[in-house]
């Protein structure tokens, strides 16, 4: 049970991340519980969040959740049940009822400071969209080059790991020998093509084992990152350079039908 409680502490710390917004919401729910006169608001905005907090930390809750949930490492979603934004905003609007404008400024500043300035648009995962698909132009340009004609058979192509997330979001007629589940460590899957494609500029592509793997997987196209050197010329293995775009070389393997 102690282990579960400690796990809950780890979960809340991970959920809070850089800020302390759940703490602000908790203070707000205590304030609402103590001062709110309307019973239904006191119960749903004050008491219920406090009970939810208790339930979250109660070790047995985690035991039940992990038995019922189909996904691992999702216990943090219990915290979604605590309407933190609503409770915080309601507490603030109530507290500063007589001085709304000053209260509004103070509340906004409090949210910014307590969040540690975690503006979502500063996230490393958010970038300026290159197109309406919100996937890299490189993925689209490569797909447009290798995509089969209307009515023709689908093609299989081996891509560098950084592109496998996007290819099939654009065109499902392109199949791949490995996908995102082989790239991310959480699954711990192994695939021979992935192993050969997942290289750095220091190690470089090793053409012989790479081609053995892609031909085994019936990959008609091979897309190589131009910033990563190959140990030998792909053309010497019968690959035909079809195009170069956005830092990638697209090779057609004529040995694969």
């Amino acid at each position: 049970m102690t282990d579960y409680f400690v796990s809950n502490i780890v979960t809340i710390k991970s959920y809070m991340g850089a800020g302390l917004l759940p703490l602000l919401a908790l203070i707000s729910s205590i304030y609402i519980t103590v001062t709110e006169k309307k019973k239904w608001i006191r119960m749903i905005m004050g008491v219920m969040p406090l009970l939810l907090t208790f339930i979250f930390f109660f070790p047995f809750s985690r035991v039940i959740f992990e038995k019922l949930a189909s996904e691992e490492n999702t216990y943090y979603r219990i915290l979604w049940l605590f309407p933190m934004g609503v409770v915080t905003a309601y507490g603030a609007a109530r507290l500063f009822d007589k001085h709304r404008i000053i209260g509004l400024i103070v509340s906004i500043l409090a949210v910014i400071v307590v969040s540690g300035g975690s503006l979502v648009y500063r996230s490393q995962y958010i970038t300026k969209a290159q197109n309406r698909f919100h996937i890299p132009d490189a993925a689209i340009n490569i797909c447009n080059i290798i995509s089969p004609e209307e009515g023709a058979d689908r093609v299989r192509a081996a891509f560098p790991p950084e592109l496998v997330y996007f290819i099939r979001q654009y065109d499902t007629d392109i199949m791949m020998p490995y996908g995102r589940d082989y790239v991310e460590a959480q699954w711990d899957y192994w695939n021979p093509v992935c192993e050969q494609m997942n290289v750095t500029p220091d190690t470089g592509y090793k053409m012989e084992p790479l081609l053995a793997a892609t031909r085994e997987s019936r990959c008609k196209y091979l897309i190589l990152n131009m910033s990563i050197p190959a140990d030998s010329d792909p053309a010497s293995y019968g690959l035909v350079l079809k195009a170069q775009t956005d830092g990638y070389s697209i090779y057609l393997d004529s040995e694969v039908e």
């Binding site: 939810l52 189909s70 099939r168």
Partner: protein, 405 residues
């Protein structure tokens, strides 16, 4: 031309039809609750629930071209419901006009009074309190739509700007999330190949039905919208849906604020502005519901956290308010009103995520228990339990699929 048709299609299938069919469940509510936001929310929930009921049998029973059948049956059902809603609305408006003392004025053509009577019949919660009601010592303005002060109006404008900024950023900024390689591709696969969860999204290989995700049919719903609008589902998910989903979430918060500030409406825009900042700065980790709203808007998990769960909170406040203000004792009160909404939310939570049925049932149970004890009304708990029957059935179907299918 194609773009215009797509925009028109979006307007019809995402806005007009849900708003229209929302009139059917909304007509079961007390006048005060029959507002434009609640009608629209109920319409969306009814539409999603209907989609679940149609898409799951298609997925399980049709071997080839399952999605094609799903599109045809759901599309026809939505249109049929919309026609029923229109006929129902005409009857409600006529009934209202017959009862109206100014009926003679309303018989001829479209004028301000006839429009007023339409709103009175279909969306009575949108009517402002009249001047005489403000001065009537016996009048009760509680929960009625009221006018805002100048400060309140300015704050609503400020909120609108912040929300539009969030929508603008959602459209112009790309957010990377690995799960898109699964969920967004699922939608595209249905859109392009008429299959439903039988192709591996990551690689394209064929597979047996993916039980873990198949009941969360929101990816299929996105594919449906793609099919009827002609929009590539990746554009739809990443660029178009945030236009609708972010304001929709705020619509729910706005409905919550109407209950919280029933007597002091000027606090509502202040609440909404703080809420909007909380959402923007709630990205303290990748797990918060606020992060999901602004970076993974189109994923079912985000809709669970930012639509289904806030809606359960809203309905719990609604039930509590009805009991707290004594509305439940009035003659025209339908005690099942909020629970019908709760049933629709519970079904929709399963549409968003398999885990959704567990989370919304837990929140419903906890909130109903608290209210039941507070008001010493066992009926609250019993009705909430009945409203969770869809969750139980969903879980049973899930277990059946995993073990025996």
């Amino acid at each position: 031309m194609g773009t215009i048709l797509s925009i028109l299609g979006l307007f019809v299938w995402v806005m007009l039809i849900p708003l229209g069919i929302g009139i059917i469940p909304a007509s079961l509510l007390t006048d005060r609750r029959r507002t434009l936001p609640i009608t629209f929310i109920l319409g969306q929930l009814l539409s999603l629930s209907l989609f679940f009921v149609i898409s799951v049998p298609c997925m399980l029973l049709v071997t080839y071209g399952a999605f094609k059948y799903c599109v045809r049956i759901f599309g026809a059902s939505e249109l049929a419901l919309f026609v029923i809603a229109v006929i129902h609305s005409i009857f409600m408006v006529r009934k209202k006009r017959r009862l109206s003392t100014i009926s003679l004025d309303l018989q001829s053509g479209v004028n301000k009074r006839s429009l007023h009577s339409i709103v009175e019949a279909l969306l009575p919660g949108e009517l402002h309190a009249e001047a005489e009601e403000y001065i009537d010592p016996r009048g009760d303005l509680y929960g009625r739509k009221q006018r805002y002060s100048r400060e309140g109006k300015i704050l609503w404008v400020v909120f609108a700007f912040i929300m539009l900024f969030q929508v603008y950023m959602a459209v112009t900024r790309a957010s990377f999330d690995g799960d898109d390689a699964y969920y967004v591709v699922e939608s595209l696969l249905s859109y392009e190949t008429d299959t439903m969860n039988t192709i591996l999204p990551y690689t394209g290989g064929t597979t047996s039905l993916d039980f873990r995700h198949c009941l969360a049919v929101i990816t299929m719903w996105i594919a449906f919208i793609g099919r009827v609008t002609g929009l590539h589902t990746t554009i739809l998910a990443h660029t178009v849906l945030p236009f609708f989903l972010i304001p929709f979430t705020y619509l729910i918060y706005s409905a919550i604020s109407r209950i919280l500030f029933a007597r002091k409406p000027d606090r509502r825009p202040m609440f909404m502005v703080i809420m909007a900042f909380f959402v923007m700065f709630g990205h303290t980790s990748i797990s918060t519901s606020e992060t999901f709203l602004l970076t993974r808007t189109w994923q079912g998990k985000s809709m669970l956290a930012n639509i289904a769960i806030p809606l359960v909170v809203f309905i719990l406040l609604w039930i509590g308010e009805d009991h707290g203000t004594g509305v439940v004792k009035s003659r025209d009160y339908n005690p099942w009103g909020p629970y019908i909404a709760l049933i629709l939310v519970n079904i929709s939570s399963g549409v968003f995520s398999s885990m959704g049925v567990m989370l919304t049932a837990a929140l419903t149970g906890l909130g109903a228990l608290i209210l039941s004890i507070s008001y010493k009304k066992l009926s609250i708990l019993l009705r909430a339990f009945i409203a969770c029957i869809p969750n139980v059935l969903y879980a049973a179907l899930y277990l059946y699929l995993v073990r025996y299918y």
